[in-house]
């Protein structure tokens, strides 16, 4: 049995006045000991629900989950003793300082007072919060709160770590800092399950990626395996004027070897069989039809393409949408 194993998890929500949502629809997951697995999926795919089910926050309607052989539903306290978890939105006490928050978490893991303080000091340094450690969290920026919350997940140096979108809301420097922290933890033997909407992040950190959509895993493998699964070269073009997107799509459809996909409002991608020939044909057809192009080029498949191919929609996060959902 894998170190973390989820078997056929189903979780439905029935919000008042709206139809039932199958947040998890028979989700299966295996995480090997000492590896980093990324759950990659668009908004509403079921990433948070999966993490909540594995960290004892919610009980699935059916299916089962095990961590190191312990049944999550049957013995949640045993699970809690061995995991560290950081949810999608920072969960910190606003009226305590950053330092006090970490000491509190340590005390609630039942560490001795001295060890809890010592560990809090270490984590404050690791997460670059020395200057603000004695201010109440109320006055922290979003990214600082996030870092305290992540530090809270590391307090006991847990053998298993769950991180739900750990880098969302962090500035580039903190994001890279966190990546390094995670890499170090994995070197030291920690098993990590993280969720992300950043393909770059999954690519860099994860040994194994599970792509999820509509509450089930639709593909899994290493980043390279996933890229190979969607085939060869792509041609991507960006139109100058969004109104010409449909005309451009028709051209890509003609010269590509698959269905063109819209990456964002003005960029289209299509798999092609002969890269240079297709690119030349597409560019000249666009010129003939008077479609202005910002950019046109060939590229190897990225995880973006995997995403597009598998889910039919792009993985880009819409920050505005996330804010309104929060």
């Amino acid at each position: 049995m894998a170190f973390i194993e989820a078997i056929d998890l189903v979780k439905t929500y029935s919000p008042k006045g709206s139809p039932e949502v199958r947040a998890l629809d028979g989700l299966n997951l295996e995480v090997q000991k000492g590896s980093v697995t990324a759950l990659l999926g668009p908004n509403g795919a079921g990433k948070t629900t999966t993490v909540k089910a594995l960290t004892t926050l919610i009980k699935p309607d059916s299916g089962s989950a095990f961590i190191d052989g312990v049944d999550v539903a049957a013995d949640p306290q045993a699970i809690r003793r061995m995991i560290g978890a950081s949810g999608q939105y920072a969960a910190v006490d606003q009226n305590l300082t950053g330092f006090e928050n970490l000491v509190m978490v340590g005390r609630l893991y039942h560490l001795g007072a001295r060890v809890a303080r010592q560990r809090a000091t270490e984590l404050i340094e690791l997460f670059d919060l020395v200057e603000s450690q004695n201010r109440t969290v109320k006055g922290y920026s979003g990214g600082m709160r996030r870092r305290i919350d992540l530090a809270g997940a590391l307090v006991i140096r847990p053998p298993v770590l769950f991180l739900d979108e750990p880098t969302t809301g962090l500035d580039p420097r903190s994001r890279i800092g966190l990546w390094e922290v995670i890499e170090q933890l994995v070197t030291d033997g920690t098993t990590v399950l993280l969720t992300t909407q950043y393909l770059e992040e999954a690519d860099r950190l994860a040994d194994s990626i599970s792509v999820i959509d509509n509450g089930r895993v639709i593909a899994k493998g290493t980043a390279d395996e996933l890229k190979a699964s969607v085939g060869g070269l792509r041609v991507a073009v960006t139109v100058v004027d969004e109104v010409q997107i449909d005309a451009a799509r028709a051209i890509l459809n003609r010269f590509g070897s698959g269905e063109p996909a819209v990456l964002n409002g003005r960029t289209l991608v299509v798999p092609v069989s002969d890269g240079p020939v297709a690119l030349a044909a597409i560019v000249s057809a666009a010129a003939t039809e008077g479609i202005g192009l910002h950019d046109a080029g060939m590229r190897r498949p990225t995880l973006d393409d995997v995403f597009l191919q598998l889910t039919g929609h792009a993985a880009e996060i819409d920050e505005a949408e996330k804010e309104s959902a929060a």
Partner: protein, 275 residues
């Protein structure tokens, strides 16, 4: 592999005590860091003592020690009942802030979170009681009972408020936002404390209100405190209803019923909630 930090030895009881101490500490820190909470919960009873004494005191004729001595038990009861609503808004706020999700992924006792929370109310209520007593004594309140009876009266008020904190904690976990609990408790608790014998003798109320007041548990609490402080005015007509006849027993039964229902209900609720 870097070694996981090990917990200090302990059993279920020591763990529970230590978790309760940590969560109580957290709520104390909130009182210190957000002093407005304490300030308002102290100013309001002072204001009520003064307003009622000087506005109604002249108009309401109470035999014996006069209106202030009659009033104090009522103000105490009203204040501690309102003081218990903090558990409601604080649980709702903690749920919203996600701190409950954090607690629920830790190997701690969920019941301890609720104990810490209700203890927080108890501290605030004890402090407001002390401040009100000081104010009351300044404006003419007199205790006409033995120290033991006096302490029993104080204990009864705090006990009732503690049981009520559990009710509010449960409600706080059951609503969507802290604002709902604040507004709802205002709407429910104002009539409950006013249609009672807290501020005026209930025998003078119109019949439907009088009947309500006689059965109102707040009246029983007020009447108990009045008896234990020796503040029952001579010639008081006690209603026929059983709670009016047996106020102390009513309060004790009420406290037991609330705790028996809401302690397990709250603990069960806590074990399943998530933001």
């Amino acid at each position: 592999m870097s070694t996981t930090l090990k917990p200090i030895p302990g059993n279920a009881v020591t763990r529970f005590v230590s978790d309760g101490a940590v969560t109580t500490w957290r709520n104390m820190m909130k009182i210190i860091r957000v002093p407005e909470i304490l300030l308002f919960s102290l100013i309001q009873p002072i204001m009520f003592v003064l307003l009622f004494t000087f506005v109604f005191g002249a108009a309401i004729d109470i035999p014996g020690d006069g209106y202030t001595s009659f009033l104090m038990a009522g103000i105490f009861a009203q204040t501690v009942v309102f003081g218990s609503t903090y558990s409601g808004s604080a649980m709702a706020q903690d749920l919203k802030d996600g701190i409950i999700d954090r607690f629920r992924t830790l190997p701690m006792s969920g019941a301890a979170v609720l104990v810490g929370r209700t203890n927080g109310d108890l501290v605030i209520n004890t402090l407001s009681m002390l401040v009100m007593m000081g104010t009351g004594l300044l404006v003419g309140w007199r205790v006409n009972s033995s120290p033991l009876e006096f302490l029993a009266g104080v204990a009864l008020l705090l006990l009732f408020s503690y049981a009520f904190s559990w009710v509010m904690a449960f409600l706080g976990m059951s609503v969507k936002s802290p604002e709902i609990i604040n507004n709802a408790s205002f709407l429910i608790l104002f009539p409950l404390t006013f249609i009672s014998n807290a501020f005026v003798p209930s025998e003078n109320l119109p019949t439907p209100l009088r009947i309500f007041a006689e059965w109102n548990p707040v009246s029983a609490l007020v009447q108990s405190a009045r008896e234990l402080f020796g503040n029952v005015p001579p010639g008081t007509i006690v209603g026929d209803a059983w709670p009016a006849q047996n106020p102390i027993a009513t309060v004790l039964i009420g406290v037991a019923v609330l705790l028996v229902i809401f302690v397990p209900l709250s603990i069960r609720k806590f074990a399943t909630i998530s933001r």
